[in-house]
Amino acid sequence: MNPRTLPLLATLGVFLLAYALCALQFPAMLSTRVVANLLTDNAFLGIVAVGMTFVILSGGIDLSVGSVIAFTGVFLAVTIRAGLDPVAGFILVLAITTAFGAVMGAMIHYLETPPFIVTLAGMFLARGVCFLMTTDSIPIDHPVYDTLTGLSWRIPSGGRLSLIGGVMVLVFIAGIVLAHRTRFGTAVYGLGGNRTSAELMGVPVARTTILIYALSSGLAGLAGIVFSLYTSAGYSLAATGVELDTIAAVVIGGTLLTGGVGTVAGTFLGVMIQGLIQTYVIFDGTLSSWWTKIVIGGLLFAFIVFQRGLVHMAARRREAARLATGMPVVSPAG
């Protein structure tokens, strides 16, 4: 079996098993309403997780995304209150967040600073700017918002696929195409697999790194727009810790934290698993909500062990191949 698809299959298995167990206890969880809720309620997490998948695939990390979501919400709330048209606000904020990510990417590449430090600084910066703009929760009250939040497709038997849920699905499809069907996608995988050999093979490292972080921040901006539609408000303390939930979703989705291996589709399942656990806890109604974190933590551990095992197995297989042919193998790990 191809070790690249094995983590994805494992994630799919966990998701299906978990859903089956949930449905067994609460048959209502099979309703279209719950499925639609999973998409709507996790829309912002899903969108930002697509960007994070590219970052982690390239061997990096982006801690700034939660703060960028909050920044986007507060920025929109403040500018719309001041009279700016929401659509203009969307374009403006996407430009700002994308540029912000590009600057972080450039710093990571040209200053040779670890992504962890650069994006940590970005996280503090974006969160700080929120508080500079306002410390209150500002409601967004605009006809455009009313229209956008009202847009939904009613599925028979009560479910509603909202606009934001639909946006998330589209972002995932675009992410899958970008990762597997474009030169940029190949470059990202190459960079994460083995940076030196990627460079030797002519991957434009500087451009790719800047684009990766620009993409991640830009998607965080889009997630921020979705979040502001979700809550109809901008709040400086919104989306705290979302960067960690996102990283968890990506890893549970089968992407190696060391980079080079993983899929965008797996990330989708990772997001859905998190949403599913949360839904189960609420359906039960007696469990502490912290069980969500506990189960996610347990799953993360399990997946990390599983992935190390796969890497180890792959290395042994290569070693066996090298011995058999007497040729050195230079292909990257994974």
Binding site: A28, N37, D41, P139, G158, A233, Y235, G275, V281, S289
Partner: protein, 321 residues
Amino acid sequence: MIRKTLLAGVALAAGLMAAGAAGAADLTIGFSQIGSESGWRAAETTVSKMEAEKRGIDLKIADAQQKQENQIKAIRSFIAQGVDAIFLAPVVATGWDSVLEEAKDAEIPVVLLDRTIDTKDDSLYLTAVTSDTVYEGRVAGEWLAKTVGDKDCKIVELQGTVGSSPAINRKKGFDEAIAAHSNLSIVRSQTGDFTRTKGKEVMESFIKAENGGKDICAVYAHNDDMQIGAIQAIKEAGLKPGTDILLVSIDAVPDIFKAMAEGEANATVELTPNMAGPAFDAVIAFKENGTVPPKWIQTESKLYLPDTAQAEYERRKDLGY
């Protein structure tokens, strides 16, 4: 599933016997709680569970860990589950319209607990159960005016966090109550940020400024925690709290009852953690007879004095404060 139904049935039977046939016919209610950031909040959760059990209601509690997105998710899940009513203690005032519209479409009544929301459309919720913080201040002021009588009394005030609505309202109510009595006057007023340490610090400076505390007749604190800090400061200044200086505060947490039982505080006004009780009753009446409750249900702001302090302390200490 069967075990749950059975348990619910037993609880229902017990509830019926205890409450004299309140008749909550198998209601399931989802409660989206903010979190457990304060002792009061934890007590509210505990009391909500107890009140639900009394009425045989199946209460599902979702702790949002201080996040609005978690509260919205919880409300959506409750709707998907088809609960009979949803209780919401909103973490922020804004951004509830779209999810509450979904609840309305699904014909699930929503009751706000302890805080209200900003919305143009107040048909989105059935009723709000909150305390009247202005009234709490008034109860404290009236008690002091009655206790002091005709004597002159210089009051020092420990305010809550600047700009917070309970601080503004508790000051307003107290001021209104003592306005009619010219012998009562607030000589000093400063914020203690609702915390013990700040309450103690501010009280120490008051004592220094007022002739070593001898000129102070009473302390009015916007919450019990600051008052407990003030008690400490008064003791350290060599005065007897509760005797040399009268002490009245608001909230009714267990520690203030302990102080009252020891004679170190004189009165407290309760901010009841039982917001769910009246909400359950409103929902039951609405479901069974179609009685539409008023848009605002005000909880009782009861005054507690040292005579019941020991018993109240015993009653409250296990509520999770």
